[in-house]
Structure formats: C-alpha cells, structure tokens
C-alpha cells in the first residue's frame, strides 16, 4: 500500500474521544511522516494515551478519521494494525511463556515466518541470546523493554507506536533505545512516541505536539517551539536556568498545576 500523497504514514484528523460525558480528546489532528519521529507530549490525563489507543484501534473515537499507511482504522482495521508495531505502557505477556515462545507467538500473529536462525538473530540483536528460555517476568526492565520493542518491530511495520517507552529505564538502556529509534527512522519507519521526558523529546523527536485537556496546543520542531515561545512571559517565568528549555515551554503552555 503506498504512503499518503504528502508522504505521511499516519493521518489523524479531527478526532474526538469521550468517556461517558467526559471529553478526553478534542478535535485532535496531526500526521506522522515516513522516516520521522513524532513526539506527543502532555501532562497526566492530557489525552496522549487515549489518542494513541485510538490509533492502535483499542478504542473507537466518536468522530474523526485515523488512517495508517493508507488504511482507515475503522474500515480496514486489520490491515492498519498489520502496518503498525505497538509498544504499550504495560509490557505484559503471559508469565508462563519464555522469551522465545513470546517472540514465536507474535511472529505468528504478524504472519512472519520465523526460522530458528531468525529467532536466534532477533535474540542476538536484543542481546538476549542466553535468555531465550527465561520467563518474561525474570528479565530486567531494560531487557523487557528490548523484548517488547523487538516484538513491535518483528514485522518491520511502517509505523511504530511507543507509549512512554523509556519510563523506568536506566540511562544506558534509555540511550540504547534512542539509538534503536534513530536507526529505525533511518530505515524509513514513522515513529509516534508519547513521553513525559523533555530530554527525550529534544534528543530524538523531529517534531512534537503538546496536548493538554484533550487539545493540541502546539506542533513544531523542538527548537522552533523554544524559539517561538522564548518571549512568552509564562515561559520566562517557568525558566530555572536562565536559558529557555523545552521543559520551560511545556510548563509555560500547560501550567504549573500538578495533574492527577
């Protein structure tokens, strides 16, 4: 299936999501291009995960359209899902299965023929060649994250969705994950990532969208966002180090109030 005419791999257009009478996502639109890392930033409860869940096909928006690699998620759900790889916030897999069995399961679900050699290559690639018979729960956080990313990319998806992928990782594991993401970008994968880490957003994202109270309030490259808002009094007030950072812009735009 070809990309959209504008080269985007994901188009989210005017999406609204309600939970009962509460509107979690309000008229959200954005796109992710092939070979781009797009960050979705927002405070807790801003609508990041709801937006991502709609793209993943886990919840149905009340209105709007989501198109993945040319497939409408409502009408061609399975084709859209086959074109994306997903890493959820909770990396839970059947605790009774070992690493090799989990990889085999997901290879089957994504219609990937997995020879013993290919399985070995995947395990070597994620530096778990000696852990194939270990249960997922016996792995460290960094190892679990690597397995989870390997599963998300086992079918070489056009779009990769990562929900707060570096939460709880040590700096080494985090850097390694960033390098993997950058390598995927070079291979032409589009990546949509949610994160609370401004450092991460600045380090790896080509563009970011800041979402708050269900609405996208800014979309741009990290540096452009800083440049555009450096004279905003709220951003200046949020500054702690004398120079304006992305976090200052984020606090300036979304407020200092702690969200539940």
């Amino acid at each position: 299936m070809p990309l959209q005419q504008d080269g985007s791999i994901l188009n989210v257009t005017n999406v609204d999501i309600y939970y009962g009478t509460f509107q979690a996502v309000n008229n959200v639109s954005f796109d992710v291009k092939a070979g781009e890392i797009f960050g979705l930033l927002g405070p807790n409860g801003a609508g990041k995960t709801s937006t991502l869940s709609a793209v993943e096909g886990l919840i149905k928006p009340q209105s709007g359209n989501i198109v993945v690699a040319g497939y409408d998620i409502k009408e061609k759900s399975l084709y859209a899902k086959a074109s994306m790889g997903v890493q959820l916030q909770a990396n839970s897999f059947q605790s009774e299965l070992n690493v090799a069995e989990i990889i085999q399961l997901f290879a089957g679900l994504y219609n990937v023929k997995l020879s013993d050699e290919k399985l070995k290559n995947i395990l070597t690639d994620i530096k778990l060649e000696d852990s194939e018979s270990k249960k997922f729960g016996q792995l460290s956080g960094g190892q679990q994250q690597r397995v989870s990313l390997a599963l998300a990319t086992i079918h070489h998806p056009k779009l990769l969705l990562l929900d707060e992928p570096t939460t709880g990782l040590d700096p080494q594991s985090r850097r390694q994950l960033w390098e993997r993401m950058e390598s995927m970008r070079e291979q032409g994968h589009g990546i949509l990532l949610t994160t609370h880490s401004m450092e991460e957003a600045e380090a790896v994202c080509d563009r970011i969208a800041i979402i708050d109270h269900g609405k996208i309030i800014a979309v741009n490259t990290p540096q452009s966002l800083i440049d555009l808002h450096r004279t905003d009094p709220k951003v200046i007030a949020a500054s702690r180090k004398g120079r304006i950072t992305l976090e200052d812009v984020f606090i300036g735009l979304t407020g200092r109030e702690v969200r539940s």
């Binding site: 299936m1 993943e56 096909g57 886990l58 690699a69 399975l78 084709y79 899902k81 086959a82 074109s83 994306m84 997903v86 959820l88 916030q89 909770a90 839970s92 897999f93 059947q94 605790s95 009774e96 299965l97 069995e101 399961l105 997901f106 089957g108 679900l109 994504y110 219609n111 079918h155 070489h156 998806p157 056009k158």
Partner: protein
Amino acid sequence: MENIVPSTATAFTTLLRSDLKTQWRNRRSVILMLIIPVIILFSWKDIIDKIGGAFALSSCITIGLTAIGLMGYSNSVARDREKGIFQRLRTTPIPSWCIMISRIGVQLVMIMLVTLAVFLSGHYFDKITITPVGYVFALITAIVGGTVYLGLGQVIVGLIKNPETVASTTRLVYFAFIMIGMLGQFGILGDQLQKIVEWSPYGTVHTIITRSLEPSKWSKTTTEALLATIGYAVVFSIIGIKKFKWSNK
C-alpha cells in the same frame, strides 16, 4: 516490506498453541481440576450401589465443569485483562473474537480431560461400567454443560473487573453451586429446594449427563433439561459478552 494480515486460521492456531502451553504450565490448577472430581468419586466407592454409577459419574463431571468454568476460565481472563495481555494482543492484526475463542478452546480441552479422568476413575476404582455409546454421548453433553459454566464465568468477569474480587466471587459461587446442588439433589435441603436445584444450571447439566450415560433412560424431562441447559448457556454468554470489557482502565 509489505505488512500482511495473517489468515484467521493461522492467527487462531498460533494463539491456541500459546494458550495451551500457558494452561499446561499452570499444572497446579490443571491437577486440582482433574483431581477433585476423582477424589470425590473415590470417596463414594461404598455408596455407588445406592446412588447409581451414572449418578455418581455425572455428579463428579458436573463438579469438574463448574470448577473449569468458574475458577479456571474466569480467573485466567481476569488476571490477563488486569496485566494488559488482551490489549497487547488486540493491537495485532487478528480479530478480537479469536482471542476469546482460543481461551474457550483451551477450556473445552480441559472439559474433555476432566470427563475422561472421571470415566477412567469410575471404571478402575468403582468398577462402573457404561456402554461405549453412553461414554461418547456423555462426553458430548459434558461439553454442552461446560458451556453453561463458561458462560457464567464470562458473566462474572463481565460484571467484576478486579481479579481478586473475581477470584473470591467465583470461589463463593463454586462452593454454593456444589453444596446446594449436591445436598439439594440428595433431598437433604427439602423437597422444594430439590425441585429448584433440579432446574438450576447445576441440576439440568447433571440430568443431561446422567441420562446420556444411560441413553435408554433419556426421557421428555431430559430433553427439557437439555433445552434449559442450552438456554442457560446462551443467556449467560450474551450477558457475559455484552458486559465484558477488554481493559480494566
């Protein structure tokens, strides 16, 4: 690289293989489900002549079916939902119903295992002899009866989200079914309750299995019990599916 949607058969086979492995690794629960009906049957050794071989076998099978539907199925679904396993599977290009049908497939295998274990124990420990037609017929009705308890398990995970609450509720319902069912059938709890138990999900399943073990005694009442069993299974399944949420959030 073009991403290809797997055929439903491929997806289902992959899931079923993985779910069977998961069930097999939970050996403690598998053994418990197999052993409880066998122990009960063994303990009835001296009263088999009084209550009848078919009655004893069907009571033990019904107890096994109740455990599978209420404790095995609902607890595993509640636990995996809490851990987000279903949501992860639902992001893959397979129809969501495949996930549940695979789980039910595993429980059907368990139903057959429990039924065969009870047949074998009855034959070796209690010298109960049933015709080959009776065994085959009873295996089929055990599967039909099992769907009632799988449906009831589905209702419980549909109405209750917390896995600990699901576990305690299913234990309570299980013991209520077994105690009221068995004591009620023996008439210990009075005539009125005996009548109620007879047409309860416990009683109808028990009736159809007893009569299929002795096909010559199948009557109009047994057919009514079969219809009631199918009715319970359909109603429980509809409620359970309607109320079920894939995620606890």
